[in-house]
Symmetry: C3
Subunit: 340 residues, 3 copies
């Protein structure tokens, strides 16, 4: 069997080749019956995830924790920095040596770019990067691409030949950076980047995307840029990454998509994505709530897919992909979200 | 089989008719061997509770979490608002859509009245209200009434014909509001309300209680009001709900019950209840610690009953009431609180 | 069977006689296959640990929680004081009565000396002291002594006849206090105490150590004091226990050990220990990171041993020592730290 990621850290999208991504996606497919509670599995019964969120993130933390629970495992958690030995002068290496003795795998988020890799180097168990500052968030990039693949498959298409428009804060938005890196692995992709001029995607990322053979256009005009694409990927102004919070406020609400604009400008089946949370305050409203009835709004399918991707990553590094079904059992309780 | 609450949200005591309450109480009875660790059950093995406490409450949070563990399930938790996407402008509906994909059932507490119902409307799994501001806290009302039923049963009585005195902050005390709503479903109940005039129970609640046929008296005199009743239900000044904290302080300690007052004024078997925490600071001391040896002090039986009620609610909405025993097994470890 | 600690609180090292310690250590030995994931056990499946950390401590909290998970049990947790009913005037006794109804065993840390014993007196389930201020931290003392026993065994020696130097903040350092108490139970121990004069070990502790027949020397000179000993036990300046934080800073970095000093002064196999976290900031650097390649640096073996000791304590108070193996099963997932 292929053991490429057994016992490995998952730190960056740069670790993946096109074949790896396909393999992860096919494992994610196999997790769906468990995520939808049509079956349960005990394969990780007795295993422990150390869910170390040195920067708070309810959504991502619970997604990783639930993914591990869905495979039968237990979760020990830490949230925030206050309680951390780091404030008593402990090195990240020491923290890693100690905490990695308490669990079988660690998921870690940290506000500092590079810190997760530093931690992983001293860890005795696999570490999954749950986001390190503005650097990487590989499970988010994978779930975004997995969603694109599934949405395109429903239209009889693949990722090759994709036309995608990314909208919003392309400077600080970690998710669009990681997604653009993954898109380099595919063919004939056309990427349109729409942002205020000050929030353009960093030029090196644009250059690399072009160097990989993809077509890239940049624009400040939303309406003109969503007309002939398969995906509109909207993002939030990453106010917490701005040096100046007031400056962030000035960009909020400049690039809004609502149902009227969608109807007037988009092709009929254009998929709308967003990494969430979407800012629904009146002054921002980047994706209007009148889109909620639009069947092409894929934002909640994205978060559901996140659970599948994270289950797949755990199964991969702990090498239980082919054992999940062997430890399967019935679900005796009422499951209202079955089949959703 | 009756499936009335299968997959339902539990948001308000107004959802329950008298028959429903009886049914929940009989399910709670059946949970006792598990809560006392005479047996364990695996019926919810693999199920996930999302325990979302957007307002902190150690006692209630752990009671819900332990109740779910006692049925064999796993718990993912969030405490407080800081880490929440809501602060990035996410709507409560979006939060509900996302979080409800990560669990089989959600318990939620939130400081804002009505927020739990708003959340539930967008959730894909059942939501149990763990308290929304000064609005509702249905599991507390059920455990109070369940305790009353059990204490009365020990005296050969039922809830019909009950004589109960409620004491303290009847204006902001959510628990006495909910309990008075439930008491409307029974017959010949006599309710005496004792509070400072400024902290009287809201008149609409008093009117509804009278309209249901119950007798209601209001008073400011503790001693005269506890003489001929079955239950004295004392409450804490809800300082956190007061617009002005100093004002709250001025009421603290005005209506104190101790053993001497009890002996002089109460009938011999009068039951003493309190939703806890009781304020034992010298300036408050609403229920004196010299009552701790009084066998009629039911305050800790209340909290133990809370575990049974919450197990019953989970079993009900997840439709496993009749499966709990089927998945039962022995408890191999030493259980000191067996039979307590 | 010996049932000495069944259902008992573990509050202080003063509870243990020499035989008890040996018994706990032999139970800890038997936990190793489970901690190293060569096997898993379901013996505590369905049991609940209430992990109540009223003072934050990521490392100790997760060590206790993981130890319980490794035996198959579930963990409910609370961190910090904010959410606690204590702030609403609840007595520690009431808190104990309530919380002890939610779990089978409680681990508690609290900033106030004596508070854990007070809590335990009202608890209906066994309470393990996870540290109460500058008073006691018995599991840490046990893991330190267990580490000493194992390291000495590798040299064909026992604890009797041990030569140990304790270095650093001996005034506020709870771990050296507890360890010195345990050492009284053994024979012919030579203890050298090295600290700034203001941070000397409290004289009563020194007197008791001498009264038990041990030899004790005190010094301010590190180099001279580490020359002829088996163990150098270094500690951190306990800045959080100092009345004045600046005063704490003035002591930081005075007694540093690095590889050059070790090579020049220590016997070849001298073991280096530290309760962790070690302060690795340049101004402190009590144990230099150039010691990390030294095979006698036992600081991470200490923390791994902590997991075994805590598993042993849970098994002891819940009386499942002889059942752990009976409920054993295979580990199907990849375990990279196997055999570490």
């Amino acid at each position: 069997m292929c053991v490429k990621f057994r016992g490995s850290h998952i730190l960056s999208v740069a670790q993946f080749e096109r074949d790896d991504i396909q393999r992860i996606f096919r494992i994610a497919d196999r997790m769906e019956p468990y995520a939808q509670r049509r079956r349960a599995t005990r394969v990780l019964e007795g295993a422990i995830l150390g869910n170390m969120f040195f920067e708070a993130s309810t959504r991502t933390r619970i997604s990783f924790g639930s993914a591990f629970n869905l495979l039968g495992g237990e979760v020990r958690e830490s949230v925030g920095m206050d309680s951390l030995s780091l404030v008593k002068g402990e090195s990240l290496q020491d923290t890693a040596r100690v905490l990695s003795g308490f669990s079988d795998v660690i998921c870690m988020r940290h506000p500092l770019a590079g810190s997760v890799a530093e931690f992983a180097a001293a860890s005795r168990v696999p570490v999954l990067n749950g986001g390190d500052g503005s650097n990487e968030h590989p499970s988010q990039a994978l779930l975004d691409l997995y969603t694109i693949e599934k949405e395109m498959a429903g239209r009889g298409r693949g990722i090759d030949g994709l036309r995608i428009t990314m909208v919003g804060d392309l400077k600080y938005g970690r998710t669009v950076h990681s997604l653009s890196k993954l898109l380099r692995l595919f063919e004939r992709v056309h990427v349109v980047l729409v942002s205020p001029p000050e929030l353009r995607m960093p030029p090196p990322l644009v250059d690399e995307l072009r160097a990989s053979g993809q077509r890239v256009d940049e624009s400040e005009n939303l309406e003109a840029s969503i007309a002939h694409v398969d995906i509109v990927y909207s993002t939030r102004i990453q106010e917490e990454r701005f040096p100046d919070r007031e400056q962030a406020d000035s960009y909020r609400g400049r690039l809004r998509l609502n149902q009227a604009i969608y109807t007037q400008h988009c092709e009929p089946n254009t998929v709308i994505m967003h990494p969430l949370p979407r800012d629904s305050r009146a002054e921002a409203n980047e994706l209007d709530r009148d889109l909620d009835q639009n069947p092409n709004l894929a934002i909640f399918r994205q978060t559901d897919n996140g659970l599948l991707i994270r289950m797949a990553l755990f199964a991969l590094v702990l090498d239980v992909v082919d054992l999940v079904d062997k430890y399967a059992r019935e679900v005796p309780w009422h499951t209202p979200n079955r089949g959703v």
